[in-house]
Amino acid sequence: MNLVRNHVLISIDAGTIMAGARAVEKTLVNEIASQGLTDEISVLETGSVGATGQGVILVVYPEGVYYGNVTPQDIPELVEEHLLKGRPLKRLILSEVPRQHVIKKEKTGLLKEQPRIVLKNSGIINPENIDEYIAANGYEAIAKALTTMTPDEVIEETKKSGLVGRGGAAFTTGIKWDFARKAAGDIKYIVCNADEGEPGTFKDRLILEGDPHKLIEGMLIAGYAVGASKGFVYIRGEYALSIERLEKAIGQARQYGLLGDNILEGPFSFDITVMKGAGAYVCGEETALIESLEGKRGHPRNKPPYPVTEGLWAKPTVVNNVETLANVPDIILHGALWFRGYGTEKCTGTKVFTIIGNVATPGLIEVEMGTTLRDIIYEYAGGIKDGKQFKCALVGGAAGAFLGPDMLDVKMDFVNLKEYAAVLGSGAILVMDEDVDMLDMLKSVLHFFRHESCGHCVPCRLGTAQLVKIIDRVSASKGKKDDIDKLIKIAQVMQATSFCPLGQSLNLPISSSLKYFGDEIRSRVR
């Protein structure tokens, strides 16, 4: 076997390209070839290596030497000295090798830097070992809260941070906690919503599997703030690994006295129970989730009363999403002001997006609120797969809106999307390329809703069945002339009369797909 002797990595990102990385790369490859070293030395493109303002950057293996500010003119000398004679070229070596920031700038996630708060440890530490979480300053926030802050101060800080719920409804977390704290009664509960059923979403799973202690710490802080001593995590039944890891983490935290009675030897006590769901999308809706926790069918309840005054077993209950709670420890540790440094004025912090479908590198990223759809697709997810054209994206899950090319530059945050009659929802972005049949996609969305309608109220139960019947016949080329108008009408009636947001929200994917692709879809019935 011909073993490669050296690897030269060239950092290719927006900054180094501007500094002329492509020209350096070309010269390097030519020089290596002209010295007859092509078999021994390989040149490899890599993403950002974390050093900025240092021009073109090369890293030479196996020595791991970093070179900065490299120009094409330097190449012959560099190849001669280092690659041929094995003497690193001192004058170009970077004195400061890139180091980590307070918030880890993730370089791997879809090959671009990301400010990671909730996913800081995920994919870095061993989630089954509490010591690794503690070594990464874990449980320092709850220690700070318990020893230096009153519950009211914790709530105040959370309010000031501008944190809003990441489960879809975007309600201000601090205000929710305040309601529950002020609600009458001694027994209160913290419920973590880990039902994550929105198609295209798997952000909560990454936290549960990759950093379960962060969730535990977030719940402890919420419990302290609200005056609750009991928490529940409702995890969908399909997330076997999440359940296993979280239960292990809870066991370890109990052993360390970080859960249970008199946490950190103070007066605060709190414990957590994991509940395993059994497959029902509607159980992600907070009141249906509470019904399910109580051992019933997961039908949504009437609101008001809201869970903050009458929730689990009629006690004041805070229901928060996993990602919401995972933001809390860092807010308490670094302060509201620090958190407001991320995101936009109206919508602070980061958001985890799952970016999937016809993109080059599907996956998940955590970026600042307000990042544009274009950046998410083209900068992070590598653009459309196989060099095709962008057709549209379904943003916010199945109950979200289809967004066409005119929306690519829209800032992705809860507040801004609302202005465009769209929703951020759970942060799922499903990208479709030019070849996708929109009627087929809409059909898939409607089938999802028919399957997941809980059957509790008539408009949704009958409406979803009707919608599926109509779209199935249109798709089988047996559609009637007014079928598309019927879809619109049914969805509108459902929006006005359904009992819960599941039935109400179906109008969004239908109306938005028709807005952009009305001709394409209608052409199937003519």
Partner: protein, 119 residues
């Protein structure tokens, strides 16, 4: 446990982590989230453990972590080596893992075709 204990545990844990990194010349970290497992990460983990055991490489440890987010490149494996940039391999399988053990871990030459990121 009180505040003092937590501090002590943190200091000890941080030292342990450091020590582990020093004791082991090389640390192999396999992403074991559901996306990784669904794409074959268990097989990859097994291969690394077996191949490293077979060669009696006592200064190499294999551990696991959660998912990073780059689902399309799962299973992912990171190789940490004192004083060198971290190499991340993507779309790994059992055969590729064997090659990484031979070329990278034993001979110090990262397998560039499988590397998706170096940092």
């Amino acid at each position: 446990m009180n505040l003092e204990d937590l501090k002590k545990i943190r200091e000890k844990a941080q030292k342990d982590v450091e020590l582990r990194q020093k004791q082991a010349r090389i640390r192999v970290v396999v992403g074991m989230g559901t996306s990784g497992i669904a794409s074959g990460a268990r097989e990859v983990l097994k291969t690394f453990v077996e191949e490293i055991g077979r060669r009696n490489l006592t200064d190499v440890v294999v551990t696991q972590t959660g998912e990073k987010g780059l689902a399309s490149r799962e299973p992912m494996v990171e190789i940490f080596e004192e004083g060198k940039p971290v190499v991340i391999y993507g779309s790994m399988d059992s055969e590729k893992s064997k090659r990484v053990v031979v070329e990278h871990i034993v001979n110090g030459n990262p397998v560039t075709e499988y590397a998706i990121e170096v940092m």
